[in-house]
């Protein structure tokens, strides 16, 4: 499934004094099993953009196409689209409402018109894949811990078997352990199920390594769109947008400016360490130690 936006603009409260342009003329394509990161500062339009992709918002101008069909053409089944392009909102645990965890995860499949058996099997599968233990299935979702609630809520979207999974800041407010669990889960979804992932965040430090592509949004427009290394090479421009490249890039750039001829397009600590070790003979202190 490929979702394409053509020159899409969105204006909030159009026609009032409070009108504000969230997106102006965005054209891009999401799909092909890519793992895509969407970064942008608060108010850059990224949350608006993701709601346009599955027809929750109607663009003020421009078109959104799913497999070359306009999703706002007459008679288009947008509810079916929402199952295929699953959207996990910020703080998804705030939408839990059922008496039991299992019933809550069944909500999506039920809305898609599945039979009770199918609902339950989809829900069990989804809960299993997010690592929620069977002993929790009959508990109230409000009894779960913060990280478990978040994962149960993500399962609620996964149970609809989306081909594209959009996650809006899925790790906001979680501790480092909960954050790692979520990222592991997402990269597992991507590799095992061949799902297209669109991950929205304002910091990409720890996930940049998994990504095929990064889209940078600034003031309602796409500022950069490319592979992570290329995007992060614009780290000075990113800074002017209130964003940052992975910390390791700063270290490598500093080393280079200080005279060490290292490559600077590193995304992970391991890569960077290997690069520095390869150049150890050119570091005066290390060279001296080696000679001794």
């Amino acid at each position: 499934m490929i979702i394409k936006t053509e020159n899409v603009s969105y204006i909030y409260q159009e026609g009032t004094a409070m009108a504000s342009v969230a997106l102006s003329g965005v054209s891009t394509e999401i799909g092909n099993g890519q793992f895509i990161g969407l970064i942008g500062h608060t108010g850059s339009g990224k949350s608006t953009f993701v709601q346009l992709l599955n027809g929750l918002l109607k663009p003020t101008s421009g078109r959104v196409l799913c497999d070359d069909v306009d999703i706002f053409s007459d008679g288009y089944n947008r509810r079916a689209l929402r199952a295929r392009a699953g959207l996990v909102f910020q703080y998804p645990e705030h939408q839990l409402f059922e008496e039991t965890v299992l019933k809550d995860v069944c909500f999506g499949p039920k809305n898609m018109g599945m039979s009770a058996d199918e609902q339950a099997s989809c829900a069990r599968e989804a809960l299993n894949s997010v690592g929620i233990d069977e002993s929790c299935y009959q508990k109230s979702p409000f009894e779960l811990s913060g990280g478990q609630k978040r994962r149960a809520a993500i399962a609620g979207v996964l149970a609809m078997h989306p081909e594209l999974l959009i996650l809006d800041e899925p790790t906001a407010g979680l501790d480092p352990r909960g954050r790692d669990e979520i990222y592991d889960l997402i990269s597992k979804m991507h590799s095992e199920r061949d799902m297209t992932i669109l991950l929205v965040s304002h910091s990409m430090d720890d996930v940049a390594r998994y990504m095929d592509r990064i889209i940078v949004m600034n003031e309602g427009n796409i500022a950069f769109d490319g592979v992570p290394k290329e995007v992060f090479s614009h780290y000075k421009e990113l800074e002017s947008m209130g964003l940052a490249a992975p910390q390791i890039m700063y270290i490598m750039n500093y080393l280079k400016e200080s005279g060490l001829p290292v490559k600077t397009d590193m995304l992970t600590v391991e890569e960077a360490a290997a690069e520095i070790i390869a150049h150890r003979n050119e570091i005066p202190v290390c060279a001296k130690i080696e000679r001794q």
Partner: protein, 266 residues
């Protein structure tokens, strides 16, 4: 869906009405509402309408924005008009089977409709030009004499300002939960009445949970800052009357007197 309700929503702009002391505006609104029940002739209502038009002009709030506040009471308005139209006795001017329309009924229903529209519009102008905080400050100040009777004026004002403060937050929250459930395929539009009510459960349960969570957080934050009620509390922006406020009071007094004169003479 929830963006239509203007009552209790401040419209940010600069105008004479915005700069007026909130106590003046509160008194003016009360005086205006009372005056609507004093006058009982079309001349009187035209006079009240004229004053309302002047107030709208002075507020520099777009007219469309003000009348959007009337939408929620539309049904109430219709029911009031219909009841008055058909259930008032007197000279029959039209009759369909059991339904009778009387001259007095027409007269009364028009007056009631005008009264209701003016009442809502008048109070909407106040809430559009006054922030909820200013409003409760004004209320607290005006009700201060009641403290002698051991009425917890400060606490009531605080409760009101918190309640008002939470209206936009909870509306935004409702919108968020609604879109989140729609992303999971929820359908809030189709189906019969019972299905529609059932469809609200996934919206209302998270909303209640979130309201309690927010209330809890707020109480904690207030205690952490040693909030202990009204005694000895000072204000960052104390309310002080200026010359224009006294002039506004004078204008209100003249208007109120005029309303009484119209009632007596006409």
């Amino acid at each position: 869906m929830f963006k239509d309700i203007t009552l209790g929503q401040y419209y940010q702009t600069d105008s004479i009405l915005h700069r007026l002391d909130p106590r003046v505006k509160l008194v003016a609104t009360f005086a205006y509402i009372i005056s609507l029940f004093i006058v009982n002739t079309y001349i009187g209502y035209s006079f009240a309408g004229l004053i309302l038009a002047v107030a709208i002009l002075l507020s520099s709030v777009p007219v469309g924005y003000i009348f959007r506040g009337l939408k929620p009471i539309f049904f109430l308005l219709i029911i009031t008009v219909l009841c008055n139209l058909f259930l008032t006795g007197g000279d029959v001017i039209l009759q369909f089977y059991a339904l009778k329309i009387t001259r007095e009924g027409v007269d009364l229903s028009v007056k009631m409709a005008v009264r209701l529209i003016f009442l809502i519009t008048g109070s909407t102008i106040m809430t559009l030009t006054t922030t909820p905080n200013q409003l409760t400050d004004a209320l607290e100040d005006l009700l201060r004499p009641l403290r002698k009777l051991h009425v917890p004026v400060h606490e009531i004002a605080m409760m009101m300002s918190i309640a008002l403060r939470f209206i936009p937050i909870l509306m935004e929250e409702t919108d968020k939960i609604r879109t989140a459930q729609m992303a999971r395929g929820a359908d809030f539009e189709s189906g019969n009445l019972i299905q529609k009510i059932k469809a609200l459960v996934p919206l209302l349960v998270p909303l209640f949970v979130s309201a309690f969570r927010r209330a809890n957080d707020l109480a904690m934050a207030m205690e952490a800052r040693c909030y202990h009620g009204g005694d000895g509390r000072t204000k960052m922006k104390p309310l002080i009357y200026e010359k224009k406020d006294y002039m506004a009071y004078a204008t209100i007094a003249v208007y109120f007197a005029a309303a009484i004169v119209i009632r007596v003479i006409v």
